[in-house]
């Protein structure tokens, strides 16, 4: 029996091989005890403040919004140590591992941001760390692979299947099912079997708590909308959770890839249907026969065929709205933020920003305040952007020659 409700509406649950159930129960029990332990909270808050660098600022984009009545704010998780919101929850989970007397951490990573964060937490708290990463992602995010290794983590290349995050997740779960007695599986997002979606949300909810306090200070009112990108959905649930009971639109932005009408996207909420995968019931990209489909996004961190169950539920009850942004739109937003505000956003966060820009351009005379969760910084993505821009230039040259 679980102590907490493992479901969000019909979504969530614990769909794992029987062998893993004791490990999940143990984790839930320790999480509940830790939440009640003032020492745990004190130590966590201390790490967040003095190691990770919380609170992160809420930055008003004055150049970006000039000439419109839209006010766009960025919640600056890119300024957190490690370069993304991921650091918040890995510190919490690493502390939980220690509480459970487990000195080994298993993690999986797509863009490498969670891998880097896991390596950071493990180096700091003296835990052994092995990180599963798809072979394709290792190639497209090699700077992050180097960072992980520098901090002492072992990076294991996953060649199975599509060689991306989905396969790294499967491999990490396989490892855990034989090593759970000594290791903790540090899931990187608000997905997977219960209690992970709840744990990750609780360890990320300070993003929303801070943002609310900061916007009330700066604007003396709540925003009209909060916009965040969605892969598994941890940064989004982190910033949404403190606004769920307020009159604020919550907008999650899925990766539209080449376009949601092509087969190359990662938008299970708007394009998938309910299924069971990676330990949970949630929305899934799957074919007619129920086989899981490969997702696609230019942003490795959003390249996942499913989504956290709480988002599936928020979508179901129409509390949050889920939209999609294509690779091209995200790249444009990336360039705009670099040029206008001197901030290099992660390609993941660029999806959220692109939607905010869409809202601004669609209603330039409408008074609206938007908070975009800038979940991470984009240094890791500059070689991808460089390739895209070079290709654009080449295409332009060949078109000009043909005219």
């Amino acid at each position: 029996m679980t102590l907490l409700n493992p479901y969000f509406g019909e979504f969530g649950g614990m769909y794992v091989p029987q062998i893993l159930m004791p490990a999940l129960f143990e984790l839930e029990k320790n999480f509940i005890a830790a939440q009640k332990d003032p020492n745990f909270k004190k130590q966590f808050d201390n790490l967040l403040k003095n190691y990770a660098g919380r609170p992160t600022p809420l930055t008003f984009c004055s150049n970006l919004t000039r000439g419109t009545k839209t006010r766009i704010y960025l919640k600056r998780e890119d300024l957190l140590h490690g370069g993304a919101h991921k650091t918040n929850q890995v510190l919490g989970q690493a502390m939980l591992a220690i509480r459970m007397k487990k000195r080994e951490i298993i993690a999986e990573t797509g863009a490498g941001q969670h891998g880097v964060a896991a390596a950071i937490a493990c180096a700091l708290l003296n835990l052994k760390c092995r990180i599963y990463m798809g072979i394709k992602d290792i190639k497209r995010q090699n700077a992050n692979v180097f960072r992980m290794k520098l901090m002492g983590a072992e990076v294991i290349s996953v060649k199975n299947g599509s060689g991306t995050l989905k396969d790294a997740c499967n491999e990490a779960l396989r490892d855990w099912s034989s090593s759970y007695k000594t290791s903790h599986y540090m899931i990187g997002t608000a997905a997977g079997p219960h209690p992970y979606p709840t744990i990750v949300r609780e360890f990320q909810k300070m993003i929303g708590i801070e943002a609310k306090k900061q916007i009330l200070e700066q604007e003396k009112r709540l925003p009209d909308a909060i916009i965040a990108c969605i892969g598994g959905g941890s940064n989004a649930i982190g910033i949404f959770s403190d606004f769920i009971h307020d009159k604020v639109n919550l907008i999650g932005v899925e990766p539209g890839g080449y376009g949601i009408h092509t087969e190359k996207h990662g938008a299970p909420l708007t394009q998938g249907r309910t299924g069971i995968y990676f330990g949970m019931k949630s929305h899934l990209m799957q074919n007619k026969e129920g086989q899981i489909q490969e997702s696609w996004s230019i942003s490795a961190g959003l390249d996942f065929p499913s989504v956290g169950p709480e988002h599936a539920w928020l979508n179901d009850i129409h509390r949050a709205q889920y939209v999609s942004i294509t690779d091209t739109e995200a790249i444009n937003a990336f360039q705009i933020l670099c040029k206008k505000e001197g901030i290099i956003p992660a390609l993941e966060s660029s999806h959220a920003l692109a939607y905010a820009l869409k809202l601004m351009n669609m209603y330039p005379t409408k008074k609206q305040t938007l908070i975009v969760n800038l979940s991470g910084r984009g240094d890791k993505d500059i070689s991808i952007i460089n390739d895209v821009l070079k290709k654009k230039e080449k295409d332009y040259e060949s078109i000009s020659r043909n005219i």
């Binding site: 769909y15 029987q18 062998i19 893993l20 199975n160 034989s178 086989q291």
Partner: protein, 268 residues
Amino acid sequence: MNRYQEIFKRLSLLKEGCFIPFVVLGDPSLKISIKIIEALIQNGADALEVGIPFSDPLADGPIIQKANLRALSQKNTFLDYFQILEKIRKKYKRLPIGLLIYANLIYNQGIDNFYLQCFNSGLDSVLIADVPIEESKVFYKTANKYKINSIFICPPDADDDFLNKISLYAQGFIYVLSRSGVTGIKNKTLSLPKKFIKKIKKYNSLPLLQGFGISSSKQVKQAILSGLSGVICGSAIINIIEKYLHEEEKMIEKIKEFTSALKLSTKL
């Protein structure tokens, strides 16, 4: 008496253990898969466990995972699989046939519709690799409606609470794991301690079958001697399929040899 009860009763009279091979349907192709299944049945399989291929079989190790992907590359449909199962059933009326499947494939078919298909194809049991007993309610209820046995897995470190729970739900037989982890052959597959087997038996009267890592006659003998009713053997057979992927005749020959040898070692 259902087919599992019949076979276990018969084997116990003969003082033999039960040998259940596992293969993935459609691996490497539907045509060869049928031949493999025939070879298994004719060379000593007391019952059959078949996997429906899934793209992300996370309870399985690399050997079975590759078998799943090989089968999927053939682009067969659910209907194809059930048609084959029906044919096998028609030919082997008393052979217990169980399915091993992942939850999404059932959910995608519609739970009721899936178990109805199982019933219509004459299947005996379903084991859902990623549905633990705690999540099994809706599947279990529907399986019962269509008289399909739900098979549950008992981990090697199960506590009294779990053994009590499994005794309330288990049907057909109990799939006892040799070790933690995923399927596959490892150098070190431990035999289950007699004390543990005795403990499971205290809670349960169903036959106990050992699975995960079974690849030799010695292990089979050990399992039977320690009080288990038999073994399930998957990866070792699939290993043969992979090894002789392009030499069909040799593959079938090797499978026959292996099956006969393992079946023989269930006769103490």
